[in-house]
């Protein structure tokens, strides 16, 4: 005896809900058993396809964005730090620089800081060998940065970017570091993009001119990094900068800070504003100081990666569609029989959707394991070397989760549609194998 309550005891909505729940339960049983009894190799192949689809979705945009993030990371590490102070829009320099520096030095959150004085000058090389005064001079317009040698090294590790020669010595006068893009031998790969001087190496003598004032420097070292602020720069001690450029007020052009906990730079910015530095300088977090074009490029790369990933999703959904379609088509007769004995089509559809969900879930899980367990640590340890940055793989978990949801949703649809196509066929035709 079937111990069921009479359907009349329930409202139509409840009856419909109960039927849906029964269909769900039976669909899960049918789907689970189909997965369980399916060919192992076929299942592995489908999961493999789904895993690569997931990787395509995550890794392509992750690498593209990683190029920019790698570049940002390099700028943060080598140049700007966590907090950047620059002149207010209505000022040429940071006002009250010595007071600000004294104050900054007392904050325990700040582990390093450096004040920079920048201007442009003309760098001339090979002038002592020049016999013909009508011949073209070997000159280049350069950016000159005056720094506290020790503080700058503590802040950015400038010493570690010396590719030839040595770092500046605080006890010596008349020494200069030159970025590689100002030296022909290093910059020739870029054609004529940069103004360069030739034949420069440590020990060479160069002349730096600002207006009518010139000073001779000995090249102490040549610096190179992933950041143009180093490659397209010359560094001299700040006291010599002030003398050469007549900056006697000691007001800097940039003050950069590195914090104990970089993530708290917004709080630190607020602390500095609360301390009353706002009227003297524009205070920005690293993120705020990034040029807009960099953010635009990052967004564009993200979009590009998503676009490429979307093609992967379309391919995967078509693959799933075909797999489920063939699967359902080959079981068309059984589907007909199930309908014939009274199984609702929803239950049968759920069985196929469950299969699609299983493939998407396992494929994505494996893809996520590979991404977070191997690829990200690998690219962090072995970044892709690009001229402007060390490319890493960027895959924020929340973004990955959203992309997984998209992949999962589309896979479910790709699993549902073919099942729907087959189950809507005439029951008797399906049972008899008629078209």
């Amino acid at each position: 005896m079937v111990s069921l309550r009479s359907p009349e005891m329930y409202t139509p909505v409840t009856q419909s809900l109960l039927r849906s729940m029964r269909a769900l339960r039976l669909g899960l049983l049918l789907g689970f058993r189909q997965i369980q009894r399916a060919s192992l190799w076929t299942t592995l192949l489908i999961i493999f396809v789904m895993m690569f689809t997931f990787l395509n979705l995550i890794a392509v945009s992750g690498i593209l964005v990683g190029l920019i993030v790698g570049s940002e990371r390099a700028v943060r590490e080598i140049s700007l730090g966590d907090i950047v102070m620059s002149p207010r829009d209505d000022e040429d320099n940071i006002l009250e620089t010595p007071t600000i520096l004294r104050e900054i030095g007392t904050y325990p959150e700040v582990i390093a800081y450096s004040a920079r004085y920048t201007d442009s000058g003309v760098l001339e090389a090979n002038y002592s060998e020049r016999r013909d005064l009508s011949a073209e001079r070997d000159i280049a317009s350069v950016r000159v940065t005056g720094v506290d040698i020790e503080r700058e090294d503590t802040m950015t590790g400038l010493r570690s970017y010396i590719v030839d020669g040595e770092y500046l010595d605080p006890n010596e006068e008349g020494q200069i570091l030159i970025g590689v893009y100002y030296i022909e031998e290093y910059a020739q790969q870029f054609g004529d993009i940069f103004e360069t001087v030739e034949g420069i190496s440590p020990g060479s003598t160069v002349r730096l001119t600002n207006g009518s004032i010139s000073k001779e420097f000995t090249v102490k070292g040549i610096v190179q990094s992933k950041v143009d602020e180093i490659n397209l720069n010359t560094f001299i001690p700040e006291r010599e900068f002030r003398r050469l450029f007549g900056r006697n007020d000691q007001n800097a052009d940039q003050i950069v800070m590195r914090l104990v906990t970089p993530e708290t730079n917004s709080e630190m910015k607020q602390t500095l504003l609360d301390a009353g530095f706002g009227p003297y300088a524009k205070i920005q977090t690293f993120e705020e100081s990034l040029p807009k074009f960099l953010i635009d490029i990052k967004n564009t790369f993200n979009l590009l990666g998503t676009f490429i990933g979307s093609i992967g999703i379309i391919v995967a959904s078509i693959t799933i569609f075909i797999i489920i379609f063939i699967n359902a088509l080959s079981r068309r007769r059984h589907i007909g029989i199930l309908k014939g004995i009274g199984v609702e089509t929803h239950a049968i559809e759920i069985a196929y959707v469950l299969q699609a969900a299983f493939y998407a879930l396992i494929g994505s899980l494996l893809g996520a394991l590979l991404t977070y367990g191997f690829l990200i640590p690998y690219f962090d340890a072995n970044p892709i070397k690009f001229p402007f940055s060390d490319g890493i793989l960027v895959a924020p978990p929340e973004e990955t989760f959203y992309k997984f949801l998209i992949l999962f949703g589309i896979t479910l649809i790709a699993g549902y549609l073919p099942a729907k196509l087959i189950t809507r066929q005439n029951t008797l035709n399906a049972i008899l194998g008629r078209k």
Binding site: M1, V2, L4, L18, A23, R33, H334, L338, I341, L428
Partner: protein
């Protein structure tokens, strides 16, 4: 001992089909397979439909078992005008009222014998445990005790057909439709299946069976002979 149905053998008709027509159209060609058939089946009756190949016996059974919709005619089963039901209502009607035994067993290959029998029971809303218990009882009743976990591929043809019968009877349907249930079986297995159906009938089960072997129809209450889409003769048996 089968623990089936409580259907009392009486004179009420559980199936009343009047003027059933079924034709198939392919382009301009219209094939009339059933040409106005009147059939009634009493509660508890065991009816065999016989005829030569192409006579329309299977087509008639598909109409009577609500697997197909006649081109014309009326059909009442267990008091319900089944032709007025929507497709989903017909599905529910089949689930709750009818049981099926197909020629080639029609078991789901991925499910065990027990699960195959459980499918319609779960769809009817039984709990897992209740469906399992009923399924095991039905499998025991058809003589396959202990083969609950076997997949169809691990069973012989005769055993698969027994599972199909277990699936048909587990929900205590009002009528069982059997479409040439012995066609794919050897004579020994075929006889065993017929004996099983006969046993169900003796317990009051209404059965409509299509067969082309007179030997298997011998135990039926009535044999309906068909030819060219028409009922040409009926033979009542004691």
């Amino acid at each position: 001992m089968l623990s089936l149905g409580e259907n009392d053998m009486n004179d009420t008709f559980i199936i009343t089909a009047k003027n059933i027509h079924r034709s198939f159209t392919s382009g301009d060609l219209v094939t009339h397979v059933l040409r106005g058939i009147d059939v009634s089946v009493r509660t508890g009756e065991f009816v065999a439909i016989m005829g030569k190949s192409g006579a329309g016996k299977s087509t008639l059974m598909y109409q009577l078992s609500v697997l197909d919709r006649p081109t014309d005619g009326s059909l009442r089963i267990d008091g319900a005008d089944v032709l007025s039901l929507s497709e989903s209502e017909q599905t529910r009607f089949r689930l709750n009222t009818l049981g099926y035994v197909f020629q080639d067993y029609a078991l789901v290959p991925d499910l065990s014998a027990r699960e195959n029998v459980m499918v319609p029971l779960l769809m009817r809303g039984m709990s897992w445990e209740e469906a399992k218990h009923k399924s095991d009882t039905a499998i025991d009743d058809v003589g396959l005790k202990g083969k609950y976990r076997n997949l169809p591929s691990q069973l012989s043809g005769g055993e698969q057909q027994r599972v199909a019968i277990a699936r048909a009877i587990a929900g205590s349907p009002k009528i069982i439709f059997a479409d040439e249930p012995t066609a794919n079986l050897d004579s020994i297995s075929g006889k065993a299946i017929i004996e099983l159906l006969d046993c169900l009938h003796r317990n009051g089960q209404t059965i409509v069976m299509v067969t082309h072997e007179e030997e298997y129809a011998a135990g039926c209450d009535r044999i309906i002979f068909m030819e060219d889409g028409l009922v040409v003769r009926e033979k009542k048996q004691s």
